[in-house]
């Protein structure tokens, strides 16, 4: 490994401002990913196949898709989601969970790039997209948090894919309590009519990619997809970084 100026800077930084791995607590010195030691970072792995072809839910039985590749999970069959296909490659636990929480709540925005790279490296969706849309935050929450973590991921992903971010198309109109504090039934109720598309012509008839950080029950994503669908989006793909399993 050669010592590039940026790596040198990185080392000096760690001498001046020491930092411990946010996951294992080991003191960091020479880590390509900020805040996380290489050995922790390597433990992040893609969820094993087979998965639901629509919502990407991992199936417990390894042979579920062997005979009928289009076999959907129970939830997708009962209530078909508004999006076309979702990709939720990583499990939301362990190192990734720590990383996302730091990224989201503790201002560690430097994690946007490596996390977006994780998303890109597990790419499972068509590449011919017209635009990328991030799940929006309500202005009040945005001011609290100072940035929209999904938008940060979307923005890095847009560089990688060469697809533009569609700014300020989908907005949140209702200030709701955080989804993470609610049960599934309450979540759907909580989010009802809380999104809106303010510039429908930018998405009508287009193939768009909806980006979020974590796929928990899919309620938020689905509510967004519904709103986009109503505004005329033709195909809606969903890409999240992690999935609650």
């Amino acid at each position: 490994m050669t010592l590039t100026p940026s790596r040198l800077l990185h080392r000096v930084l760690h001498v001046l401002l020491p930092m411990n791995c946010i996951s294992c607590g080991e003191e960091l010195f020479d880590n390509p990913v900020p805040y996380i030691c290489p050995s922790c970072w390597e433990t992040i792995s893609v969820l094993p196949d087979p998965k639901c072809p629509c919502c990407n839910l991992p199936f417990s039985s390894p042979s579920t898709l062997t005979h009928s590749p289009q076999h959907l999970c129970g939830r997708c069959r009962q209530r078909p989601p508004a999006y076309t296909k979702a990709c939720t490659p990583y499990a939301y636990h362990g190192v990734l969970k720590d990383a996302i929480s730091q990224f989201k709540y503790h201002g560690k925005v430097r994690l946007a790039r490596p996390l977006a790279q994780l998303m890109a490296s597990a790419w499972d969706l068509p590449q011919d997209l017209d635009g990328i849309i991030a799940v929006p935050l309500h202005p009040t929450r945005l001011r609290e948090r100072e940035y929209n973590q999904s938008l940060l991921l979307a923005e890095r992903l847009s560089h990688h894919l060469g697809v533009p971010v569609l700014w300020n198309v989908l907005v949140r109109t209702k200030h709701t309590v955080p989804q993470t504090t609610l049960k599934r039934s309450a979540r759907i109720k909580n989010l009802r009519k809380s999104f809106a598309v303010i510039r429908p012509n930018e998405i009508s008839g287009k193939k768009v990619l909806l980006v979020d950080d974590v796929f928990t029950t899919g309620t938020t994503i689905n509510e967004c997809a519904k709103t986009l669908r109503k505004a005329g989006a033709e195909t809606i793909y969903v890409q999240t970084l992690a999935r609650m399993v």
Partner: protein
């Protein structure tokens, strides 16, 4: 966690400190090295310290020693004075640091490049401190100057436990001082356009100058001095009385630019940028935050602002220290790293000492780091305490409760900073500024949140629009005057001004160890024990009792007050007599600088007899300050009034303090006791004409001949104090029995020729003589012809200009006289060609005296 750097910094500092003693006590330092090595090995076995860690610690220690030693070598050349000689010479050099201004003068540090002119020009290198009185041109850092001046070695007054300005300058690498007066004395060439660093500093200095000019023309005192102190870092415009008020209230740090200014400025700028950015329309904020979050934007704007302030203020040590810490803090915010004050502190200590290792002996360096460390620990403690209580009450605190917690924490921080700086403030300033706990809580936020931002804003406006006047001057005037009134009011609290003896350095070290134990140790028994010791030390220091260990000892101290006189008598029964108090100019008051601190160090707060031998500036100048700050019993003079301002000041102070002027006529007994008797031998009693002021343009001789001459007799000892008596009065006294029986004589009139009377001299039987004179004074005192007589008579002569203060102790019931001088207490570098151990033992004894405070 995180603490790998801190122990290394501490061991590096320890190394620097040991390194500074290496030339004086080499064997002892070596022994400490070996001891530390053994200690570390022991720790390795005992506490599982890895051998790598201990090795690194040891290497840091050695690095400190090495770094100090190399730094000393670099300075040892000292060629300026030997090249320049005693005469006036032409010299040229570069202005090396921001030029300091004061009313009617400017002071600059010049890196001398050459001495002499034409063919005689010689290249030399060395630092010169040059003062220009009544300047008529601007000089900036980085300028190339040519001047004709006479160089002198830096000098100050040398008194045991006192501050020696000469030694201070030498420690800072200043080899010589010089003074020029009047217009056109310094020829200035601005740096050429290729020298970017010089141009940069010159530009900064021009900015400072511009702001200073604007302030001088728009503000009036006290706002003027305070503004210049807080914004441009020019201390010399602040009135001494205003400074005393700040000193008394423990807020003196805010009239120089210290951490609190920079920190609060950074806080204000950070919070307002962040708050404003967060309030921008949501789509904009969303888009902006993809590139830079509001927090990061605040960092980007705050950092240049603090750097600008640091530069504008002349980049003094304490300011740069805070800049480094704030920069590290902001970097941590930018990179999302953990924000550790103590860590940042460690890094900034390291950077500062690598830049200049001498800083470890710098007063503002020590105060600044100690207070920040205390604040950091207090914050950590506060967080620990609130975390403990949070578990009990989970619900969100109400506004009132939040204010209450916040106030508690604030009080804790203020207490911690005051407590931690207490020993250092007592050591350097002989004061316990206990009011600092309260005063700082009001003054620091006021200054940080209003005064400094406003001052900077108006300075920036003045610079950007190139204004000759200061914008918003009226507002600055208003709030700074308000500040000074507030501080003055607080300083009038009963007992606010509390003076103490300088604590012994060993006790100070003990104090800090105990403090660390209280903060950090986990065993409650040790914590409590440390707290008790701590309280004991504080009470002892605040009390500062007089230590009369041997009640049959007479102590006489001839203080080094430069050219002038000040003699302190401590009688066996505890009475104190002060005879004269040295010179006093506006910023050079020997009462304040030498006599007062020495009295406090001796635990003296009451002077039973104060004698003004004759009204000349070099004898009574410092007495006004002494009367204001000490409890005076009897006030004796020679009964001659004068009309000059210094005498008016003195008589005003005498009246204000309701002292009755008594004339010490010849034959008068000032003290009539069973053990000691203090008698006046001069001036001869005159019943009339004493209320006539002494003619202004009269020769000094007549006044000198009217000086109060005193004779102190205690047991077997008799001391003759001749003030400035000249031949006429000496001849008159020649047949007094006190002259013949004196065992110690203070040579009259600083050893001047006009005060040598053969008749009088032949009567002397004393074996010891002391002369008080200033180093390289312009009168040529003491005259070598006079000293020769004393020498030929076989008398031991002590001189304050060479020996510093001369301290004489005499036991009543023996004839033995023990004499110590300040100069003899100074460590001397061990000469390896002579008996090393013997020299080292001598140095160790001196060190022990200094560190234990027992002289």
């Amino acid at each position: 966690m995180s603490s790998t750097l801190l122990p290394r910094v501490v061991s590096f500092l320890l190394g620097l400190w040991l390194g500074s003693y290496l030339p004086y006590i080499p064997f002892f330092v070596m022994t400490i090295f070996i001891g530390l090595a053994i200690g570390l090995t022991w720790c390795e076995r005992k506490d599982g310290l890895t051998s790598q860690t201990s090795l690194i610690l040891y290497v840091c220690l050695l690095a400190g020693v090495g770094f100090w030693t190399i730094g000393e070598w670099g300075k040892s050349s000292m060629v300026l004075l030997s090249t320049a000689g005693e005469e006036e010479v032409w010299l040229s050099g570069l202005v090396a640091e921001p030029v300091q201004h004061a009313p009617g003068r400017m002071t600059m540090l010049v890196q001398v490049i050459s001495i002499g002119e034409g063919e005689m020009k010689k290249k030399v290198q060395g630092l010169l401190r040059l003062t220009w009185r009544e300047p008529d041109a601007h000089v900036h850092r980085g300028d190339d100057i040519t001047v004709r001046a006479r160089l002198r070695a830096p000098f100050g007054t040398r008194n045991t436990g006192g501050f020696d300005y000469g030694a201070y300058l030498q420690q800072r690498g200043v080899e010589a001082v010089a003074m020029v007066k009047g217009p056109d004395q310094i020829h200035v060439i601005s740096p050429d356009s290729t020298n970017l660093t010089a141009l940069f500093w010159s530009r900064i200095d021009q900015w400072r100058n511009q702001v200073r000019q604007a302030v001088l023309s728009n503000l009036t005192d006290p706002a003027r001095g305070l503004f210049l102190g807080m914004i441009v870092g020019e201390q010399s415009y602040i009135d001494q009385e205003v400074r005393d008020d700040f000193m008394t209230t423990g807020t003196v740090h805010i009239i120089s630019i210290s951490g609190s200014h920079l920190g609060l400025l950074a806080f204000l700028s950070f919070m307002s940028v962040r708050g404003l950015t967060r309030r921008m329309p949501a789509p904009w904020l969303e888009r902006l935050s993809c590139r830079i979050t509001p927090k990061q934007l605040a960092v980007v704007i705050t950092l240049p602002l603090v750097v600008f302030y640091t530069l504008l203020s002349g980049a003094q040590v304490a300011t740069v220290r805070s800049l480094v810490m704030i920069a590290l803090y902001l970097l941590a915010v930018w990179f999302g790293h953990e924000r550790q004050i103590i860590m940042a502190l460690g890094v900034s200590v390291l950077l500062a000492t690598l830049f200049d290792p001498m800083l470890i002996y710098d007063l503002s360096f020590q105060l600044s780091y100690v207070s920040v460390l205390a604040i950091a620990l207090a914050i950590a403690l506060a967080i620990q305490l609130t975390q403990g209580s949070e578990e009990e009450c989970e619900d969100v605190q109400s506004f009132g409760e939040r204010i209450q917690t916040w106030l508690h924490q604030y009080l804790l921080i203020s207490c911690a900073a005051t407590l931690a700086t207490l020993p250092l403030v007592a050591y350097y300033f002989n004061q316990v500024a206990w009011l600092g706990v309260v005063a700082n809580m009001a003054v620091v936020p006021f200054v940080g949140l209003f005064v400094v931002p406003l001052g900077l804003l108006s300075s920036i406006l003045a610079l950007v629009f190139d204004l000759e006047s200061l914008p918003l001057a009226w507002l600055s005037q208003l709030i700074l005057d308000g500040l000074s009134v507030l501080v003055h009011f607080i300083a009038r609290a009963p007992g606010a001004e509390w003076h103490v003896a300088s604590p012994a350095p060993l006790a100070i070290v003990g104090f800090y160890l105990c403090l660390l134990f209280v903060f950090l140790h986990h065993r409650p028994v040790l914590r409590w024990a440390s707290a008790v010791i701590l309280m004991g030390l504080i009470v002892w220091w605040i009390w500062s009792p007089r230590l009369i260990v041997y009640d049959d000892t007479l102590r006489t101290t001839f203080l080094d007050v430069g050219q002038g006189d000040a003699t302190l008598l401590e009688l066996p029964d505890g009475q104190t007599v002060l005879i004269d108090g040295g010179v006093a100019y506006e910023r050079w008051d020997m009462g304040r600088m030498v006599v007062g601190p020495y009295l406090w160090d001796r635990g003296i707060r009451k002077i039973d007899h104060l004698v003004a031998t004759h009204p000349q500036l070099d004898h009574v100048g410092g007495l006004a300050w002494i009367i204001q700050h000490f409890d005076v019993g009897h006030y004796w003079t020679n009964g001659v009034p004068r009309v000059e301002p210094f005498y008016q000041r003195l008589s005003n102070v005498v009246d204000e303090n309701r002292l009755i002027e008594q004339v010490a006529w010849a034959g008068q007994d000032l003290i009539e006791g069973s053990t000691c008797q203090l008698r006046s031998l001069n001036p001869p009693r005159k019943e009339s004409g004493m209320s006539q002021p002494f003619p202004e343009n009269h020769s000094g001789a007549e006044l000198n001949n009217l000086s109060v001459v005193l004779s102190l007799t205690c047991g077997n000892h008799s001391i003759l104090l001749n003030a400035d008596a000249e031949v006429e009065s000496l001849e008159r006294m020649a047949n007094e029995s006190d002259v013949q029986s004196a065992t110690l004589v203070k040579i009259p009139h600083h050893g001047a020729k006009s005060s040598f009377s053969k008749d009088w001299f032949n009567q002397l039987t004393a074996k010891i003589a002391v002369v008080s004179a200033g180093q390289r004074n312009r009168y040529g005192h003491p005259a070598s012809s006079v000293l020769k007589h004393y020498d030929q008579k076989g008398m031991e002569v002590y001189r304050t200009d060479r020996d510093g203060a001369v301290m004489v102790s005499q036991k009543l019931h023996s004839t033995e006289t023990v004499i110590q001088t300040t100069q003899a207490q100074v460590l001397s570098v061990v000469d390896l060609d002579r008996n090393v151990l013997q020299q080292e033992a001598k140095n160790l004894r001196r060190l022990w005296g200094k560190w234990s405070g027992v002289y």
